[in-house]
Amino acid sequence: MIRLTAITRTFYMGDQTVYALNNINLHIASGEYVSIMGPSGSGKSTLLNIIGLLDKPDSGNYELDNKLITDLSETEQAQIRREKIGFVFQSFHLVPRLTAAENIELPLILSGMPPAQRQLRVNDALQAFELTPRAHHRPSELSGGQRQRVAIARATIMRPSVILADEPTGNLDHQIGAEVMLLLENLHHGGTTLIIVTHDRELGARAHRQIAMRDGKILTDQTDDAH
């Protein structure tokens, strides 16, 4: 479902040229669980942003569900982000003045869903992520693990086919990080494609397919047979 062909992404910093992605070829099938690892600055986030349609490659083709993304208008790309992709970030990115429930509701509002239906969906999500007692708390009143649970609930509320998680446990301690990983893996068990960027070898090893990057290139790409 995700097919990247000869993708490059270059940044120009003054007279310096940074090849964040350098001729990336990658195919990820529906329902896969992929981890992307590599040293800082190797291009992991850039790759994830391009897969998530937040960033555009300078050259190369990106096909998502057999549609060439570069042909789509800005509005159509926003619609794909809304309906097919769920982002989970290291620093949560919750809107501070909104409650947990309101943060989770945001994608539904953007999609134009009627309020009554939104309410039902949000309540289900709050329950699924054990956030019901915290529904009306603001992010500042939540623990790190709770914040990431709200973020994951928000990322999944539209029932996307792909979850993109950029170091989702980076701001959490080990124990809480493991709980968050279990939540994400649960989504994967439900059929969602899961792509995780991480520095943590142990976490990376849990994925069925492990991609290692360096200097904007894919170094290794191995799939566990065990799974």
């Binding site: 960033d55 800005e74 926003a78 309906e83 990115h93 003045r97 909104l98 945001l106 994608p107 509002i109």
Partner: protein
């Protein structure tokens, strides 16, 4: 994103930045309130003056000696000429003009009034019976120079003077002395209060012949003329001028002022003044607009992360644009409505404090104030909103 959701979401963020929003709303509200109150004041003053002028008579023309044009008067003075006086004969001639319903010659002076052991100086109007209806005065009691008594020594007292001299008894029928002559009190004016310069409650009116004798003059101070109808005012003026020119050997040495012309002039001047103060007040709305733009720009900067996040979860640039635009519209709308109410309240206070001043803001001013506020607010939000919509999602999200 639906329109309802856009409005609701933006309203929520307006409400969550409470202090910021209140300050903007206040700035907007004060601007609109200033427009409303100042135009209410200006228009109130205009109506007050117009009412005052209307109350002195209907279809009134005032004839006075001398040319009104400065150049003519100057030339006359240089040549050693003094304008010819207006006389009772002139007045009688004017009374025969077909456009004239009635006329009243007028002399004004001061004399000592004494009766019942009291003495005071009063303003004396000398005229005929027609003065009372022409000047819209009313008699509370008695009459003035009623038919058949045109030549008798009658005097009409202003209500205050009547009460002063005859606090316990009926004034009508009493004898008084004015200057060196004796008069019979024939009537008392109804209370009118201050009107165009003098207080009709403190004057006395005597027949014109007695006044001219008392002040030792044959000339008139003014001739008041009432035209038969509003449409005949202008032709009456021309006829009066022509008639006076003829009897004054072809000299144009009298001036006719119509009540209508004065009214129009005051109306125009005060309307222009109202517009001017409204314009000045509107400047404060522009200042409020700049404030909105500044605050919205700061808000976009502060909420960069939020904007990036919205894009990541599927908001289009149009959604972001509309959200920030709607925030500005909420702020201006609430500010404008609040300002309108504040302005109306201010006008009410003005009317309560100065009951004679009809300080109502004209509808155009309220509408213009609110529209200018909305337009400035909307214009001020264009730049910040498009800046927000243009933000690059990845950079916005990585900004810390």
């Amino acid at each position: 994103m639906t329109l309802t959701d856009t409005l609701h979401t933006s309203l929520k963020s307006v409400m969550s930045y409470r202090v910021r929003s209140l300050l903007i709303i206040l700035a907007m509200a004060l601007g609109v309130a200033a427009v409303v109150v100042l135009t209410a004041l200006g228009d109130g003053a205009r109506n007050y003056v117009v009412n005052q002028f209307s109350s002195i008579g209907t279809n009134l023309l005032v004839v006075l000696p001398g040319r009104a044009e400065t150049s003519g008067a100057f030339l006359g003075a240089v040549l050693g000429q003094t304008p010819r006086d207006l006389t009772l004969k002139d007045a009688q001639l004017l009374g025969r003009l077909p456009q004239v319903r009635r006329y009243a010659p007028l002399n004004v002076g001061a004399a000592e009034l004494s009766a019942a052991n009291r003495l005071r100086e009063v303003t004396v109007l000398g005229s005929t019976a027609h003065l009372i209806p022409i000047r819209h005065m009313k008699l509370a009691q008695g009459s003035f120079l009623a038919h058949g008594t045109e030549r008798s020594a009658q005097i009409v007292l202003g209500v205050k003077i009547a009460n002063e001299f005859f606090p316990r008894s009926q004034a009508v029928g009493q004898r008084v002395r004015l200057g060196d002559s004796r008069f019979l009190v024939s009537g008392v004016l109804a209370s009118q209060g201050e009107s165009m310069g003098y207080n009709t409650d403190e004057i006395v009116i005597i027949p014109i012949d007695y006044a001219q004798a008392m002040f030792n003059t044959t000339s008139l101070f003014r001739i008041l003329v009432e035209a038969k109808s509003h449409s005949e005012i202008e032709s009456a003026k021309q006829a009066i001028l022509a008639s006076l020119r003829q009897s004054h050997d072809g000299e144009d040495d009298a001036t006719v002022i119509t009540q209508d012309a004065i009214l129009n002039t005051f109306d125009r001047i005060l309307h222009a003044l109202t517009l001017a103060v409204a314009g000045i007040a509107a400047i404060s709305l522009l200042v409020a607009g700049i404030l909105i733009m500044n605050v919205m720009l700061v808000a976009v900067n502060q909420r960069t992360e939020e904007i990036g996040l919205l894009k990541a979860i599927g908001a289009t640039s149009t959604d972001i644009h509309r959200l920030f635009f709607a925030e500005a519209v909420w702020l201006t709308l609430v500010g404008a409505i609040l300002g309108f109410l504040l302005g109306e309240f201010g006008s009410l206070l003005l009317r309560l404090t100065y009951p004679q001043l009809p300080a109502w803001a004209p509808a155009w001013a309220a509408i213009a104030g609110i529209s200018v506020a909305l337009v400035t607010g909307i214009l001020a939000s264009i730049l910040p909103a498009s800046q927000a919509a243009r933000l690059d999602a990845v950079q916005a999200l990585s900004k810390k």
